[in-house]
């Protein structure tokens, strides 16, 4: 269990490193194409501002987009007790609890740090899961808060934004031929390189973003299992959710990465492209990791 946590954290770091490499490569293409090294600075300032805003508003936005309503201990005693006990065993402050009125079984967490934690569950998930399964799900969500996943994803999303902007801009230069020496062959090669880079970079960036988000799901599964000491609870919850999968009423690309299960309903397994562009690892893989942890206990 500990090794799963370590491995996932390391992979997140590696992916962010890959991002930085991609940025540098783009930067290099630009500085060779034009002789303006000062281009990245305004871009970076923009990205940091963007990341900052999305970081502080992330919880409010997620709650507004999903239509979650806050509930008190009296309104949802079962959910409240489970979350309260988990926060005690994780040694973190009690998060705010929200319920989404939706028959699709799902749950999500947001909040920039444990002090501002928010966990939400749909009415559907409360209906189909028993206590130990719900405990597993909520431990997964609390782990997202505890591992600062919102922080990681907002950094990643900011990086994706920069890369998208830069490549967009590169494409424009390529189109209008804003290059110094248009007659030389080197200029032509550079033009080709910059256009290719402009098209490929955002795709790679997006895949990296999704890779981070999948890694964080695995990480939350592992740390949630550490919290409950009962990986089987979440494993059987995931299988239940999978078998009764249905798209959520307010499924949305912007909030998809927050959820426990894919809000768009079930995905066919084993399709390579689907796998590359999915925010969530396949349920079977997650269940396999959890069962593996169960045998190590």
């Amino acid at each position: 269990m500990y090794s799963a946590v370590r491995k996932n954290k390391l992979k997140t770091v590696l992916i962010i490193f890959a991002f930085v490499l991609l940025m540098s490569a783009l930067g290099w293409v630009i500085s060779v194409t034009l002789d303006t090294p000062g281009f990245f600075i305004p871009m970076l300032i923009f990205a940091i501002t963007y990341a900052g805003i999305s970081y502080f508003a992330s919880a409010k936005m997620a709650i507004a987009m999903t239509g979650a309503k806050p509930v008190t201990a009296q309104e949802a005693p079962r959910l409240y007790k489970i979350v309260e006990n988990l926060s005690i065993s994780a040694g973190m402050p009690m998060p705010k609890i929200y319920i989404v009125n939706d028959p699709a079984p799902n749950a999500f967490a947001t909040g920039r740090d444990p002090e501002h934690g928010v966990v939400a569950a749909t009415t559907g998930i409360l209906d189909i899961l028993d206590d130990s399964e719900l405990e597993g799900v909520m431990a997964h969500e609390l782990s997202h808060v505890q591992n600062y996943d919102i922080r990681v994803t907002s950094i990643v999303i900011a990086l994706v934004t920069i890369i998208a902007f830069v490549s967009d801009w590169l494409l424009r230069i390529g189109m209008f031929g804003g290059l110094g020496d248009r007659d030389s062959r080197a200029g032509g090669v550079m033009l080709l390189v910059s256009i290719v880079a402009a098209i490929i970079a955002p795709l790679i960036a997006m895949m990296l973003q999704l890779a981070v988000s999948r890694k964080r799901e695995f990480l939350a599964d592992a740390s949630g299992a550490l919290m409950t000491r009962y990986p089987e609870g979440l494993a059987s919850a995931l299988q239940k959710i999978e078998s009764s999968a249905r798209p959520m009423r307010k499924a949305n690309n912007a909030t998809a990465h927050l959820f426990l299960a894919n809000p768009f309903g079930r995905e066919k397994r084993g399709q390579f492209v689907r796998k590359l562009f999915s925010t969530h690892p396949p349920t079977a893989d997650r269940v396999a990791q959890l069962n593996q942890m169960g045998t190590e206990l």
Binding site: K81, E84, N85, L86, I88, S89, A90, G91, R229
Partner: protein, 182 residues
């Protein structure tokens, strides 16, 4: 010359880091312990009410009431990990016998007040369990730090010692109230 200074600087920085991590681990165990005592106290506070409720139906079972009240007083006065764990074990035993008495009185078991107390007790038990898990995790981290090289050298020099795990035999004394069939 410069090499020597660099080495000394690196060692000093490392010592500061290690010391800070030890302090953090130590504070965490203390926090976790106070969480446990809060939850234990919460449970002990439910007992007088429970005893009175059972008394209303089974006033002649004096022995059991005395035992529970005594165990509660002992648990309230316990300090330190070992003593608390022992007092807890005593108390759990007494609580078990109180619930065994309650089994014989269907009216009592069906009363709203008793059922509510039972639910409350189950909940605090879960919370004690959770707090215990967090405490033991924090203790495990601290103990590993005091044993592993090179942290153990610094821990030894600055007087950080291992702490005890909080072990209670069987926490699940009370069962959830079952719906009564009429």
């Amino acid at each position: 010359m410069w090499i020597a200074i660099t080495i000394i600087a690196v060692v000093l920085v490392a010592i500061v880091f290690i010391y800070n991590s030890l302090v953090r681990a130590n504070v965490r165990t203390e926090e976790a312990w106070s969480d446990i005592t809060v939850q234990l106290k919460r449970r002990l506070d439910l007992i007088p009410n429970l005893v009175n409720t059972v008394k209303g139906y089974a006033s002649h079972e004096k022995e059991v009431f005395e035992k529970v009240t005594q165990a509660r007083a002992q648990a309230l006065n316990a300090s330190g990990v070992k003593e608390t764990a022992e007092a807890e074990n005593q108390f759990e035993g007494a609580l078990k016998s109180l619930f065994a008495v309650a089994e014989a009185y269907p009216d009592l078991k069906a009363s709203d007040n008793f059922r509510e107390l039972q639910t409350e007790l189950v909940d605090t038990e879960n919370k004690i369990q959770a707090a215990r898990r967090f405490y033991n995790g924090a203790v495990r981290d601290l103990n590993i730090k005091t044993q592993v090289f090179p942290t153990n050298l610094i821990a030894g020099m600055l007087g950080f010692t291992e702490k005890e795990f909080f072990e209670v035999e069987d926490m699940a004394t009370v069962r959830e109230p079952v719906d009564v069939q009429f």
